[in-house]
């Protein structure tokens, strides 16, 4: 893109547009003809752009939007025909040129869609349930008086309203298909009563008939006595049940006990459900926020690099100010690293990953980890050793997801580098024990006390994670390792003592 930005557009880009690889930028002249374009335009443009084209040829969906009626104009979450979502910024500059920026929002829109879908589905479900109850009149409220009510439809019975507490104590799994309940299978006694009931239901007037009392056993082994009533009301046939005592009076004591028990169970179930939901919301929130934080953090890093590389700026800044700038740059890198770990951790918690299992190649894995930690090990003159015990095995019989497992080993080796003094040694090794295979990362660093070891793998830790050269940590690395190990159905343990180094051992059997 050979063009120059006016000051106003430069300011707008810096303040409003996150710098990232997928950004699409278009420049149009005052008549809306394309002048320049930049980025993966095929995501948002319906034709390959050409300088003789009008903007409405390539983005017909933005008809009437150029030049912008308000300046700048921002359209969030515009879905394109290719299924991408973008925030579209339309900005006019002093030369009456229009600039368009397409910022990808696909990921956040998909997350948002998922959340809102759940909420809206629930709201519609409540509305429908309320409506259905109202439609069935007073019979839908009989559960409040401890009745369970059915409407007879052909050969089947349909449940009306809710289920009273005692009924849940009596039977489970009754309502797998509430539309088609076969009551005679559930209560064989009804088979006898239904002949009397049929007479009642065939009359043209309002009528009712009560059954005799029969006995059922509750799930907890108590006896319960029941009575059924067949009712014909407004040309509709109903069958209702209620618990009674032997003499035909409603068994209040039994109901009370069952209700109390059920209420406690319901409360516990509700609390558990709510807790799970909150945890999931928290993870989703963290995942979205950490994803969206990448762009502004990246922007600050990029801008600080520009300043640090600018000879003129360097000349003008005092030594102290230049050191401050360097510090900003370093701290932002650390923040980015922390943010990436947070993102990985929340996605692992949410289960947003799929294992692509391949045979583990430890040499390849060691190459990767060695590359990732090369600079840090070089700084501390740490010797990186490989010790793979193959014991005559031609192939290594452990299956892993290379990306995730590589991340786990990288975190472990990275940790070892932090806590190993200059000139130390770190070993990535494997050994065969009891017919199984263990992979380990061993260092001869500062080691850990028992209390520190016990607090490891908890996701977040408040224990200091400062390294031997003052390296700072996120406290998340081992939590991520733990999640990855768990996802592979492996286990991890630590052998460590202060001053004698640590060994993290992953058992793959």
């Amino acid at each position: 893109m050979k063009t120059s930005f006016s000051d106003a557009i430069t300011d707008y880009i810096i303040s409003k547009i996150p710098p990232y690889i997928g950004l699409v930028m278009l420049q149009l002249d005052e008549a809306g003809m394309l002048l320049n374009w930049f980025g993966p335009v095929e995501k948002y443009l319906e034709k390959r752009p050409d300088r003789s084209m009008h903007i409405e040829e390539v983005t017909p969906y933005l008809m009437g939007m150029v030049p912008p009626l308000i300046n700048p104009m921002v359209l969030p979450h515009v879905q394109t025909n290719t299924g991408h979502y973008a925030e579209i910024h339309i900005v006019e500059d002093e030369l009456m040129h229009t600039w368009m920026f397409f910022v990808d929002q696909t990921r956040s829109a998909e997350k948002l869609q998922q959340l809102l879908q759940e909420v809206n589905d629930e709201r519609l479900r409540i509305k429908r349930a309320k409506h259905d109850s109202v439609g069935q009149g007073a019979f839908s409220a009989l559960h409040l008086l401890d009745y369970v009510s059915f409407v007879k439809q052909g050969d089947h019975y349909q449940l009306i309203g809710n289920i009273p507490v005692w009924y849940k104590e009596l039977k489970t799994g009754l309502f797998n298909d509430p539309e088609r309940i076969n009551l005679t299978e559930l209560f064989p006694f009804i088979e006898v009563f239904q002949y009397e009931a049929a007479e009642c239901w065939e009359t043209s007037v309002e009528s009712k008939v009560e059954s005799g009392i029969w006995e059922e056993e509750t799930l907890t082994g108590r006896r319960m006595y029941l009575q059924a009533t067949a009712i014909r009301h407004k040309q509709v046939n109903y069958l209702i049940f209620r618990p009674v005592n032997k003499e035909g009076k409603i068994g209040n004591e039994m109901i009370q006990k069952a209700r109390e028990q059920r209420l406690t169970l319901d409360q516990l179930a509700r609390a558990e459900k709510q807790l799970k939901r909150l945890l999931q919301f928290k993870d989703q929130f963290v995942s979205i926020v950490s994803h969206d934080l990448r762009s502004p953090i990246g922007a600050v890093i990029g801008l600080s690099e520009i300043l640090m590389d600018d000879a003129e700026v360097k000349e003008k800044l005092s030594q102290y100010n230049y050191e401050l700038l360097t510090l900003i740059h370093e701290e932002m890198h650390r923040l980015l690293d922390y943010n990436d770990k947070l993102f990985n951790w929340s996605n692992l918690e949410l289960g947003n990953f799929k294992l692509n299992l391949k045979r583990l190649d430890l040499n390849q894995m060691a190459d990767y980890v060695g590359r990732m930690q090369h600079l840090k090990m070089l700084n501390k003159r740490i010797h990186f050793v490989r010790a793979f015990e193959q014991d005559g095995m031609e192939v290594f019989p452990v299956m892993v997801d290379e990306t995730l497992f590589g991340q786990a080993l990288n975190n472990l080796v990275g940790n070892a580098v932090k806590f190993t003094p200059e000139g130390g040694e770190i070993t990535l090794g494997s050994r065969i024990v009891d017919g199984g295979i263990e992979i380990y990362v061993k260092d001869n660093g500062i080691g850990m006390s028992k209390s520190v070891v016990d607090a490891l793998f908890q996701g977040f830790t408040r224990t200091s994670t400062t390294g031997t050269l003052g390296e700072k940590g996120t406290g998340l690395g081992l939590g991520i390792v733990s999640k990855i190990v768990e996802a592979h159905h492996f286990s991890i343990r630590v052998e460590s003592s202060p001053g004698k180094g640590s060994t993290f051992i992953i058992s793959t059997h």
Partner: protein
């Protein structure tokens, strides 16, 4: 070729996307799929001998979580306000959205669509409610995206109103 932008506004789950999909692609899905942001579709039609291309901006539903942004309505030649006949509260949302839309669009034509007429027995909006909307001078059409009832008529009607403006 005449091009016109039509915007669909209304509360969540009133059937805006279903109406657009029924009109543009002749399809209907029972599954409710909440819309995020805006999805833009296109449909060519001939009205009174004139070729017209309609750009249909299907905007997410208004609710406590997502408020409709006025910028979506900029450049509209007309709009539909969609109401779910089975949910009275969607009529109240519609009235609020109409105020916002008329401010942004400078009084372009619009039609109120009371959707889900296939569920008429479950409607919470009665004839008096519909009459009071009509008394405001607003055009009201009862539609069903599921039964394909009056959907095409509604789009043709609004297009005529836009062309005659």
């Amino acid at each position: 070729m005449i091009k016109k932008k039509i915007t669909m506004v209304g509360a969540f789950a009133v059937g805006k996307t279903s109406l657009v999909q029924r009109f543009v692609n002749s399809i209907y899905s029972e599954k409710y799929q909440t819309t995020i942001g805006v999805k833009i579709d296109q449909k060519n039609l001939v009205i009174d001998g004139k070729d017209v291309t309609l750009l249909l901006w299907d905007i997410h539903g208004e609710d406590d979580f997502m408020k409709v942004k006025p910028t979506y309505l900029i450049g509209s030649s007309g709009y539909f306000i969609v109401v779910d006949g089975t949910r009275y509260e969607t009529l109240q949302t519609a009235l609020q959205l109409q105020e916002m839309a008329s401010t942004v669009t400078k009084d372009v034509p619009f039609i109120v669509l009371i959707n889900k007429s296939d569920l008429r027995q479950d409607w919470e909006i009665n004839n008096d409610d519909i009459e009071s909307i009509r008394k405001r001078g607003w055009q009201v059409i009862l539609t069903s995206a599921r039964d394909n009832f009056a959907v095409e008529d509604a789009f043709e009607q609004l297009t005529r109103m836009m062309l005659n403006q």
